[in-house]
Structure formats: structure tokens, C-alpha cells
């Protein structure tokens, strides 16, 4: 099965966007005549696999290499570097070019920045004195469809850059990407933003529209009705909780990359040992589409049902000899779904080997206790014990961050004690890590009273779930906790920010409500009424489309919650999710941990 997702059912014509990116890339290849060697950075390789089949590149006379520190081995006289504009890549490229010099090879070098060239990168090329040898260009890839309702900006470090390094270039990228969407689908009339980065992106979007306006006359009705921008900083609690949907768990345990997971072949029932297989996970797989967003408990039941029903059919076919051809046809059709069922049974079985452990349940219990801010002592001692057992530091930090966020920090005594225990258990080299976490507000000293309880009450974040199989509320996703971010989206589409203004003030960052487009060209900050349900089904009879942008990443669980919402009766909206990256608690913390270490070396 292809890893490139099928986009036919997308609420927006995302296939056209992807074709455009494909065409752009092929045009670059065509512009360089003859055989060429394409060198791409490893991360981009994953991204490109979502856009086109690599075999296509060969047809254009290109051989593919990954950029690394080693000198380049190729016969080609033309080298095309296709890399994201990161400083470290520039150094690698420069060293590869210099490596060629003494050999007296006559080579032509091309460098295409993804998505755009930056001054800092060119400066490095100049310093390394390879600037003259390169032909520079840009490959404007700002977004990639991950699935029929998810777009990714492929900005891995956005959160870290905004919170710790103070680098907001990703915000510009997000605004630019939305602006590009507007060129294809019309100016989005309603903009709602919450958080420092989000409001900045909304303002940037406005100024981009002024400098380089999308012509509104020949577009007709804009296809996207509202864009809601949210900073991850507004809700850091949710990603720290263990996701309990099928897709969420897959990401937590096996890590989904570019819409697929890599697992040992033995897990998938194959015989070969030690081999890795890639399992694509997107909505082209009908069964996966059906079960990805269910609570994992339910998934196991569904799979069992499917398997037994096929078994029954099989028994029927065998016992009765008088079937018509059409009956047989039906049966064969159902057998076609067999490989899909087998695939997910294997994956689910593997997941159960994690979720079956008592430690997994103990952890969920503690998370729930922390969220309800019930018993600080128990939570504190649980984490203390984890540190003493020297459990993986990211597991420890995840709970610690959760505890710190819900309590607006830890009392000084506990804070210093735990920090000391961490340094003793994991080494003093983690000092910059603790500093960075404090700077990002993830793990800090208590300075004011926590308003978390107030927020959970006002937004009904803690809900008792009785029936995970037939949920009536998004809280089924975390078995009793409704993600804060999605509650905000719920309010934003229902009535705008106004009704929860007081509440928004309790969360970090400013908020913004804008009306744009022909009706309000000189649109400034005029506050307006919410969409209202009667407007939500527009003239054409389409459900209106809401683009939800998460700056700093979104979890699969939250995407599941949005899908659940749009499937609810009386909800006149389709949601399209756009994010800098799909994250979970570990993938948020891991780069902070490794980066903090790198600084030391």
C-alpha cells in the first residue's frame, strides 16, 4: 500500500496543492539538464515521500543521496542540493564542495533552499567561500498534506524555538503557508487567534494580504470560513498526558513518522528476524480510518468482532453448497479486507504488550490525579520514586511538567529538592536542561496560585466517562479528560472568543478576533458576533470549513477530538487541521533534552 495518502475525500482540494508541489520539484529537476545527483537532507526525505514516489526522480535522470558529513560519491557532473535552510547543512555542503577541489573535478553545483533562502545561510556560504560556485534557488514547499484532513508545515523545532531560543521565524512560515492557501482557496473571512505566536501570525497574515493581495473578485466564496490559530503554549498540559486513542498510542509507543510506523518484521507476523518494515497509516486504509480515533479498549473489541464475523462467513460458505455467484462475490469482497484486519491485529497485539502492564495503568492513574489537582503528596512521591529508580528521563519529566503546569509551579522546597535529585541521578550535565525547562515555563518554581482548577471547571475538562464505546463527548479520548485546546476550539466556532474572554485571560498570551475580506477591507480589531449556527451551512449547501492551526504542534489525540466533533450531529463544520508538527509529550521534550546537552559539548 502506498505511503502517499489518498486525498480524494479531503474537505479542500489538497490534491491540487500536492500536485503543485510535485510539479515545482520536477521543474527544478528539468531545469538542470542531463544526469544529476540530488542530495537531500534526511528530514526532507521523509517529507518528500509524502509528495511523490522516489522512482519518479529516476525517470528524470536523478540519483538520490542523503546529505551527510561524508564526502559525496557520485559520477554525476551536476549536483543538486535540496535542503531546508538550516545553518548546519550549509557547513556540510561547503565541506563537500571543498572536498572536490583538489581532485580537479569539473562539477556544477546547485542549491535549492526549502522553502526559502535566508540571509544567515548565504552568509555561511560566503564565509566558507563556496558562494561563487553555487547556483542558488528556492523550492517553496511550505506545507505538506499528511492526510485528507491534516496539513503539516514540517517545522520540527517551532515550539522550542519560540519558548526557549526566542526565534520566531516559524511564525512567519506559518503565516506564509496560510497566505498561500488563501491564493488557492480565497481569503479566509474570520480569524481567531490565541497566544503570542498565533496573534503574531494573524497580524503577519494581514500585512501579507496588504502587500501581496489575493484578488477576491474572481474567487467567489472563500472555501475556508474561519481560521483558528492556537499556540501550543496555551495548552501544554494535553500533550503531556498519555494518549489513549489507537493512533495516539501508536505514536506514543512506536512513533509515527510521515504517516507510517516502522516496526520489526516479527511483530507483523513475518518470519525474518531483525528486519524492519514500514507500515503506512493513513485514511486510504478503510479499517484504519474507522478505528484510528477510537479509544484503544474499543479498538481491540472491534477487531475481534471483525475477525469472528469473517470466520462465521467462512464457515457458512463451507457448509452450504448452494450459493449463488453473487453471494460468493460478496464473500470474496469481504475477504479483501483480511490483510487490513491482520495488519491491525498485529499492531494492536504489540500495543497491548505495553498497555497490559500494571505500570502503564499506574501511570494513567497518576496523570488523572495530577489533572484533578487532588493529592500533591502522592504525585510528588511517585515522581520522586521514578527519579530514584532512574527511569528514562523523558518519562520523569513528562509527569513533572504536568505537575508543574497544573500547580503553576512547585513550591520552592520541592522544586529544589527534585532538581537536586535529578542532577544526582542523571548527572550534573543536565543543569542547562533544567534551566531551559524553567525558561520555557514547563518546570518552574511556584510564584502564584494556580488557576488550573478554575479552568477545568469553567471548560468542563474533567468529565466522567461511562461508555467509551459510544462516547458523547471528546473526553473519551483521554478516558476522562477533555483536551483544553479542543474545548477552546469548540467555544471559538460556537460563539467566538467573546463569551470566554475572562477565561482566555487566564491562559498565556493575548487573543485576537478579526474579520477580513470584502466586507471589511480596512479590517482592524473590530469584534464581531460569532458565526451562529444558522450561518454555518452556507449558500451552496456545503458544511463550512474551519482551519485549525496549531503553532508548536498537535497530538493525534487532539486531531481525533476534532474529527469526533465534526462527526457530531448539529455540527455544521468540517475541520481541517494544520500544524507545525505532530507531537506527543516525548517528542516535545526529547529535542529539548538533547539540545541542552549539545550546548554543553
Amino acid at each position: 500500500m502506498a505511503q502517499i495518502p489518498n486525498l480524494d475525500n479531503a474537505p479542500l482540494n489538497l490534491a491540487a496543492l500536492r500536485e503543485q508541489s510535485q510539479k515545482d520539484l520536477l521543474n527544478i529537476l528539468k531545469s538542470i539538464r542531463g544526469k544529476k545527483c540530488v542530495v537531500i537532507d534526511p528530514k526532507l526525505a521523509g517529507t518528500l515521500s509524502l509528495i511523490l514516489q522516489t522512482s519518479l526522480l529516476k525517470e528524470y535522470g536523478a540519483e538520490l543521496r542523503l546529505l551527510s558529513a561524508e564526502p559525496l560519491q557520485t559520477e554525476c557532473a551536476k549536483i543538486l542540493y535540496l535542503v531546508r535552510s538550516e545553518l548546519k547543512f550549509m557547513k556540510l555542503i561547503a565541506s563537500q564542495i571543498k572536498n572536490d577541489e583538489p581532485k580537479g573535478l569539473q562539477r556544477e553545483f546547485f542549491l535549492y533552499f526549502v522553502p526559502r533562502r535566508t540571509v544567515a545561510c548565504e552568509k555561511i556560504l560566503e564565509e566558507e567561500k563556496v558562494h561563487q560556485k553555487l547556483t542558488l534557488g528556492e523550492y517553496p514547499l511550505y506545507l505538506v498534506p499528511l492526510d485528507e484532513d491534516v496539513i503539516c508545515f514540517e517545522l520540527d523545532h517551532s515550539l522550542q524555538e519560540c519558548l526557549i531560543e526566542g526565534d520566531t521565524s516559524s511564525v512567519w512560515h506559518v503565516a506564509k503557508a496560510i497566505h498561500k492557501l488563501e491564493f488557492a482557496f480565497g481569503v479566509i473571512p474570520n480569524v481567531r487567534a490565541k497566544g503570542v505566536a498565533s496573534t503574531k501570525a494573524a497580524e503577519l497574515l494581514n500585512s501579507m494580504q496588504q502587500e501581496d493581495p489575493v484578488n477576491m473578485d474572481d474567487m467567489g466564496t472563500p472555501e475556508i470560513n474561519t481560521v483558528i490559530l492556537l499556540d501550543r503554549e496555551v495548552d501544554l498540559v494535553t500533550p503531556m498526558c498519555s494518549q489513549l486513542t489507537y493512533e495516539g498510542l501508536l505514536d506514543e509507543m512506536l512513533q509515527i513518522n510521515n504517516g507510517s510506523v516502522e516496526v520489526d518484521a516479527t511483530i507483523m507476523g513475518a518470519q525474518q528476524d531483525g528486519k524492519k518494515v514500514k507500515v503506512p497509516l493513513n485514511s486510504s486504509d478503510k479499517l484504519y480510518k474507522e478505528i484510528r480515533d477510537l479509544n484503544f479498549e474499543v479498538v481491540v473489541q472491534v477487531l475481534r468482532q471483525k475477525a469472528t464475523s469473517i470466520q462465521q462467513d467462512y464457515a457458512e460458505v463451507k457448509s452450504t453448497n448452494t450459493q449463488s455467484v453473487s453471494e460468493l462475490k460478496d464473500f470474496v469482497k469481504r475477504l479483501h479486507s483480511l490483510p487490513e484486519i491482520a495488519r491491525h491485529v498485529h499492531l494492536a497485539q504489540h500495543l497491548q504488550s505495553f498497555t497490559g502492564k500494571p505500570s502503564f495503568h499506574a501511570r494513567l492513574d497518576i496523570e488523572q490525579t495530577i489533572l484533578e489537582v487532588q493529592n500533591f503528596e502522592i504525585c510528588f512521591e511517585y515522581i520522586e520514586e521514578m527519579i530514584h529508580k532512574q527511569e528514562p528521563i523523558e518519562n520523569v519529566l513528562r509527569l513533572l511538567v504536568l505537575l508543574s503546569l497544573t500547580n503553576a509551579g512547585l513550591p520552592k522546597k520541592n522544586f529544589d529538592y527534585l532538581r537536586r535529585e535529578i542532577l544526582h541521578s542523571y548527572g550534573f550535565e543536565h543543569m542547562p536542561l533544567l534551566y531551559n525547562l524553567e525558561k520555557a515555563g514547563l518546570f518552574k518554581r511556584q510564584e502564584s496560585r494556580s488557576n488550573w482548577i478554575g479552568i477545568t471547571r469553567a471548560l468542563q475538562l474533567i468529565v466522567d466517562v461511562n461508555d467509551t464505546a459510544n462516547p458523547s463527548d471528546i473526553s473519551y479520548i483521554f478516558s476522562g479528560y477533555a483536551p483544553l485546546s479542543i474545548r477552546l476550539v469548540q467555544h471559538a466556532v460556537r460563539s467566538g472568543w467573546r463569551s470566554i474572554e475572562e477565561l482566555l485571560k487566564l491562559l498565556p498570551g493575548p487573543h485576537l478576533d478579526l474579520k477580513r475580506g470584502s466586507s471589511a477591507i480596512n479590517s482592524s480589531l473590530d469584534v464581531h458576533q460569532g458565526l451562529g449556527l444558522q450561518q454555518s451551512i452556507d449558500r451552496v449547501g456545503h458544511r463550512s470549513l474551519v482551519l485549525v492551526v496549531f503553532i508548536g504542534g498537535v497530538t493525534f489525540a487532539e486531531i481525533a477530538a476534532l474529527r469526533f466533533l465534526s462527526a457530531q450531529e448539529g455540527m455544521g463544520y468540517d475541520f481541517l487541521v494544520a500544524t507545525t508538527k505532530v507531537v506527543n509529550g516525548n517528542t516535545i521534550l526529547r529535542p529539548i533534552i538533547t539540545n541542552s546537552k549539545e550546548v554543553m559539548i
Binding site: 527519579i387 529508580k389 541521578s425 542523571y426
Partner: protein, 126 residues
């Protein structure tokens, strides 16, 4: 600015990590400790870097006395574990008292280390 300065110093010593000469590293960390101590906000950092220097010193001593270069660079807990695993409980106790390791952590470390080397008799007695 002061913070930045001391942070720089915190980073630098690591550059010399792994080299047989730990003198400069320890000195740099001690310098960081003094810089942190100049302000009131960085009491914690100051103490931590003081302990860091102390740890490196005692690890160096341990390496000399055991003639095995396995200590330097590991954490306090790992140092204790290694000592116990080697059957040198006295050295482990010394580290424990030197760094005021709470009993709770001490018990975890001890049982864990004894289990790793399969010293079930000692684990039973303990």
C-alpha cells in the same frame, strides 16, 4: 550578563571531558560556582556546581584507588551503584554521606545494584 558568563563557564569545562587531565575542568566549574554565588537568584545553581566539582574530585580519587577509569563523568547515583556492584560498600557509603543522599534513594540504588550483579545473598541480608 552574569548568568550568561557563568553559563559559558558551565559549558566550557565539558569540552575537556574525557581527557585524562581533569584539573582545568574542576577549576572552571568552581569558577562557575563562585559566579553563581555572587547573585541571590542562583543559589541552587551555585550549590549544584559546587557539588559537581566535588563529585569529579571524589570520582578521580576512586579511579586512582580502584585503578579503573569508569567513574569520571557518571552521576552521583551511578557512582554509588558502581561502588556497590564492585562490592565496595564503604566507598559507596562515603559518597552517600558526602552528597547527603536521602535514604529512600539509597535503598533503591543498593537493591538495584545488588540485583544487577546477581548478589542475591547480600540482597537477602539487606
Amino acid at each position: 550578563l552574569l548568568l550568561k558568563e557563568s553559563r559559558e563557564l558551565e559549558r566550557n569545562p565539558m569540552a575537556s571531558k574525557g581527557s585524562p587531565l581533569h584539573g582545568p575542568q574542576v577549576r572552571l566549574i568552581e569558577q562557575a560556582h563562585r559566579l553563581f554565588a555572587e547573585t541571590k537568584e542562583h543559589v541552587f545553581e551555585s550549590k549544584a556546581s559546587e557539588e559537581h566539582a566535588k563529585l569529579l574530585r571524589s570520582q578521580h580519587e576512586l579511579e586512582v584507588s580502584t585503578k579503573q577509569a569508569i567513574f569520571v563523568g557518571s552521576s552521583v547515583s551511578d557512582t554509588i551503584k558502581t561502588c556497590i556492584a564492585m562490592g565496595n560498600e564503604r566507598a559507596a557509603l562515603k559518597v552517600k554521606s558526602e552528597f547527603k543522599v536521602p535514604d529512600k534513594r539509597w535503598y533503591w540504588l543498593k537493591s538495584c545494584a545488588l540485583a544487577t550483579v546477581g548478589n542475591w545473598d547480600a540482597l537477602e541480608k539487606f
